[in-house]
C-alpha cells in the first residue's frame, strides 16, 4: 500500500521507545521530575491513547493534553445559538458528527434533533452546500468549527456558494485560531512545559513561521508532528534532543505533509472570507482575545449569525467542571472531581468528555476508565 504504513511499524516504534528512554536517562528525568511535553492537538492525544504509547514510555515522560480539540473547547452559549437556529422550521442544520453530543445549557444538537429539529450530520461542508442546492425552499446552515485545518474548507464552500449564486446556504463560524491559543497556554500561571508536539494538520495550512515566537520568546522547542504512532514517538525523541541541547527551535517531523510555508491558496481563501473576532469564548479557558474568526461583511449574507438573530449569550461553564485545569495540564483528567462521578462519555458535563479526542474521554475510554472508581 502506501509509504504511510511505515509510520505504523511497531519495530520502528520499539527502537524509538528505547532511544527515548536513553535520552530521558541522559537528562536525569525521573517519575517525580519528569520531562513534560504538551501535545497541542487532540489528534495527538487520540494517537497516544489509541496506540497505548504512554503504557510503554518511561514514567519520566509526562504528556500534557493541550487545548487543541475544537470540539472540546466549544462553549455552551455557542451550542445554544446553534440549537436555536436548528429549531427554526425553515432550517436544515448541518454539522460534523463531533458536535452532536456537546452539551448546551438547554440541550445538545442530538437532543434538539430528537425534539424534531432537522439536523443532519455531514462529512464535508461541500455536502451541506449540495443539500442547499437540492432544497432551494429550505435554509441550509453549516456549523463550521475547527482550527486552520478546517477553516479553508468552509471558506472555499462560502466562495463556491457565492460563485454559484446559492442564496439559501449560510455558515455558523465557530472557527478558532491556533496561535492565540498557544499564547494563552504559554501564559498560564504555574504551567511548566518543556516542549510542544505541534499540530501537523494545522501546520500544513499555516506553515512553520507563525510558531517562531515559541522558540524565540518562550524558549521552548516545538516539533510539528504527524499522527501515526511512529510520528509521535519520533517527535518526542526529537524534542528530548533539543531539550538536552538547550536549543529551542521549531522543527518539522511531518515533512511529508507539511511544507515550510504551509498552503498559500488555503490561507488566501481563509483571509478572503474570515476576519478576526476581538473576543472569543472557550469552554474551560474563558475568553481569549482574537482567537476566533467571523465572516467578513462582504460575505454577510452567508453568515448564519446575521441571517438568524441568535442570542449570542455567554453561558458560564458548569460550576463543578474543571475542564480548564485539565486543558492547561494543571490537573490530570482523573483528578477532576467530576471524572466518572457525574461526567462520563454517556452524560458529559464538560466538553473534554464529549469528543473522543478530549483528554477526559480518551482517558475514560482507553486508559483510566476505572481508575477513578478503583
Amino acid at each position: 500500500m502506501s509509504v504511510w504504513d511505515g509510520f505504523k511499524d511497531a519495530a520502528l516504534g520499539r527502537s524509538l521507545v528505547e532511544r527515548i528512554a536513553e535520552r530521558l536517562d541522559a537528562l536525569g528525568a525521573t517519575e517525580r521530575q519528569p520531562v513534560r511535553l504538551m501535545e497541542v492537538c487532540g489528534g495527538h492525544t487520540h494517537s497516544i491513547f489509541r496506540y497505548g504509547l504512554a503504557t510503554v514510555l518511561p514514567p519520566a515522560l509526562e504528556f500534557l493534553h493541550g487545548p487543541g480539540c475544537p470540539v472540546c473547547v466549544l462553549p455552551m452559549g455557542r451550542i445554544d445559538d446553534c440549537v436555536a437556529i436548528a429549531e427554526d422550521p425553515r432550517v436544515i442544520f448541518t454539522t460534523f458528527g463531533d458536535a452532536m453530543r456537546v452539551p448546551g445549557s438547554r440541550k445538545s444538537l442530538m437532543q434538539a434533533k430528537a425534539d424534531g429539529a432537522d439536523i443532519r450530520m455531514v462529512y464535508s461542508p461541500l455536502d451541506a452546500l449540495a443539500l442547499a442546492r437540492r432544497n432551494p425552499d429550505r435554509e441550509v446552515v453549516f456549523f463550521g468549527l475547527g482550527f486552520e485545518t478546517t477553516m479553508p474548507s468552509t471558506a472555499l464552500t462560502v466562495l463556491r456558494a457565492e460563485a454559484e449564486g446559492i442564496a439559501n446556504f449560510s455558515l455558523f463560524s465557530q472557527h478558532v485560531t491556533i496561535i492565540p491559543t498557544l499564547k494563552a497556554v504559554l501564559d498560564t500561571p504555574g504551567l511548566t512545559v518543556d516542549g510542544f508536539i505541534g499540530p501537523g494538520h494545522v501546520s500544513m495550512v499555516i506553515g512553520l513561521r507563525p510558531y517562531r515566537f515559541i522558540a524565540e520568546t518562550y524558549r521552548k522547542p516545538f516539533v510539528v508532528a504527524g499522527f501515526e504512532p511512529v510520528d509521535v514517538l519520533q517527535s518526542v525523541w526529537m524534542l528530548l534532543g533539543r531539550i538536552a541541547e538547550g536549543r529551542p527551535v521549531i522543527e518539522n517531523q511531518y515533512g511529508r505533509v507539511v511544507p515550510e510555508d504551509g498552503n498559500q491558496r488555503a490561507r488566501a481563501a481563509m483571509d478572503a472570507v474570515f476576519e478576526e473576532r476581538e473576543r472569543c469564548e472557550w469552554r474551560g479557558l474563558g475568553s481569549i482575545d482574537r482567537s476566533g474568526v467571523r465572516i467578513r461583511d462582504r460575505y454577510a449574507r452567508f453568515d448564519a449569525e446575521r441571517r438568524f438573530s441568535v442570542g449570542g449569550a455567554v453561558v458560564a461553564d458548569p460550576q463543578a467542571c474543571q475542564c480548564g485545569e485539565v486543558l492547561t495540564g494543571t490537573l490530570k483528567p482523573w483528578q477532576c472531581r467530576l471524572f466518572g462521578n457525574g461526567c462520563s462519555p454517556e452524560t458529559p458535563v464538560g466538553a473534554l468528555m464529549v469528543s473522543s479526542e478530549g483528554a477526559c474521554a480518551a482517558w475514560y475510554q482507553y486508559g483510566g476508565a476505572r481508575r477513578g472508581a478503583a
Partner: protein, 351 residues
C-alpha cells in the same frame, strides 16, 4: 397472528400499500397471501389458524432444551450491498438462537408497514426472507401485518421470533469464560456497520463494501462438533466486537487480552474508519461469531471455522486472563489500551 397457509392465490392489484391493507378486510388478506404466504409457505400446509402448531416429540428428538428469542429490525436503507432488512431479520434471529447452542427450527415474522410503501419493495423483502430461511434451514411459520400512517414508522419494521432446540451436552454461557481460554472470530470485523454508513449516501462515499449478513448456524454446528467444550458464543452485532468482549469479561469475571494485529479487518472497512474517525471494534456486524474455547480445543475449533465458507478468515484474536477482571485490553503492537463500550451509535468525526 395468522398461521401461514398456502391458499387459493390472491393477487394484489395496487402498486403501493395503503391503510386499507391493514384493516383486516379483503385488502389485507390479498397483501398477506400475495406477498408473504406465497413467499414463505413452501410445501408446509398448515391449517388457517392464529398460531403455528408443532409436534413436541419431533422437537424433543433434537435436544433437551428449547431456545426462544425475539428481535426487532429497523435499518436505513432497507436494501444495501450484501442484504436487506429481510435477510437481517432472518439471520439475526437464527444467529441469536445458534449462539446459544441451539439448532434453529422455526421463525415468526411480524411487519409494520408505513403506508405508501411499494408492494414490490415488500415482495423483495419477503423473497429475501424466504431465501435466508432456506439457507439457514428454518421455516417461517406464522406472522402478522400492520400498516401505519405515513410518518408513524420508517418504511418497514420487521420483528422475528425464533424457536430452536439446544443439543444435549452443549452448555454455553456468557459467564463461562475461564483464564487460559482463547478467543476466536470467524471473519472480518465491521463490514455491516461500514456498509450501512456508506449506503445511506449522505456521506458521499462510494465503497467496495458488502454486509457480512449471514446465518451462522451451520458454522456453529461445525464448531461445536470440533470443540464441544466451547464456553460461549456471541454474534457481535450492535456495539461490535468491543461490546461482546466487554460483556463476557464482566459476566465471567475475567480479563480479556486481544492483539490488534490478529484482528481481521478488510482494507475498505479500515479506510472508512480512518476517513470517518471510527473504530472497527465498535462497528456492527451481522455475520461475525465470537467464540471462547478452551485452549486445548483451539486448534480444532479454528480448523473447523476455517473449513466453513463463512470462516475462511477465522482468527485467534486473543485470550482470557485472570488479570484485570472485567476489563478488555488490546495490545496495539506499540502499547496497550483499554477497550470500552462505545457511547452510542458511532458518529463520524473530523477531529
Amino acid at each position: 397472528m395468522n398461521a401461514i397457509t398456502p391458499l387459493r392465490r390472491r393477487r394484489l392489484s395496487v402498486p403501493t400499500v395503503t391503510l386499507s391493507h391493514g384493516g383486516g378486510g379483503t385488502a389485507m388478506r390479498d397483501l398477506v397471501e400475495d406477498v408473504f404466504v406465497s413467499a414463505f409457505a413452501g410445501d408446509a400446509a398448515a391449517p388457517l389458524e392464529d398460531q403455528a402448531r408443532m409436534d413436541l416429540a419431533a422437537l424433543a428428538a433434537g435436544g433437551d432444551r428449547l431456545a426462544f428469542t425475539t428481535d426487532g429490525f429497523v435499518v436505513d436503507p432497507l436494501f444495501f450491498p450484501g442484504g436487506d432488512i429481510g435477510t437481517l431479520a432472518v439471520c439475526g434471529t437464527v444467529n441469536d438462537l445458534a449462539v446459544g447452542g441451539a439448532v434453529p427450527v422455526m421463525l415468526s415474522c411480524a411487519v409494520v408497514i408505513e403506508e405508501g410503501l411499494a408492494v414490490d419493495t415488500l415482495r423483495r423483502v419477503a423473497a429475501s426472507m424466504a431465501d435466508a430461511a432456506r439457507a439457514a434451514g428454518v421455516r417461517i411459520v406464522t406472522g402478522d401485518t400492520k400498516v401505519v400512517a405515513r410518518g408513524a414508522c420508517d418504511k418497514l419494521f420487521v420483528t422475528t421470533s425464533g424457536v430452536g432446540v439446544i443439543r444435549r451436552g452443549i452448555e454455553v454461557g456468557i459467564g463461562k469464560a475461564r483464564p487460559g481460554d482463547v478467543v476466536l472470530v470467524n471473519g472480518p470485523l465491521g463490514c455491516h456497520g461500514a456498509t450501512i454508513l456508506a449506503a445511506r449516501g449522505d456521506l458521499g462515499l462510494d465503497a467496495d463494501l458488502a454486509s457480512d449478513c449471514a446465518p451462522l448456524n451451520g458454522l456453529i454446528g461445525d464448531l461445536l462438533d470440533a470443540a464441544p467444550g466451547t464456553r460461549l458464543m456471541r454474534d457481535a452485532t450492535r456495539g461490535g466486537l468491543a461490546a461482546v468482549l466487554t460483556e463476557l469479561a464482566e459476566a465471567s469475571g475475567v480479563g480479556v487480552l486481544i492483539a490488534e494485529e490478529a484482528l481481521p479487518v478488510t482494507p475498505a472497512v479500515r479506510g472508512l474508519c480512518e476517513l470517518l474517525g471510527l473504530d472497527p471494534l465498535h462497528l456492527a456486524n451481522e455475520g461475525v461469531l465470537v467464540a471462547v474455547v478452551p485452549r486445548e480445543q483451539a486448534a480444532a475449533a479454528l480448523a473447523a471455522l476455517r473449513a466453513h465458507p463463512l470462516g475462511g478468515q477465522a482468527a485467534l484474536i486473543g485470550g482470557v486472563t485472570s488479570e484485570r477482571p472485567g476489563r478488555v485490553v488490546m495490545d496495539t503492537a506499540f502499547g496497550q489500551r483499554t477497550i470500552d463500550l462505545p457511547v452510542g451509535d458511532p458518529l463520524p468525526r473530523i477531529c
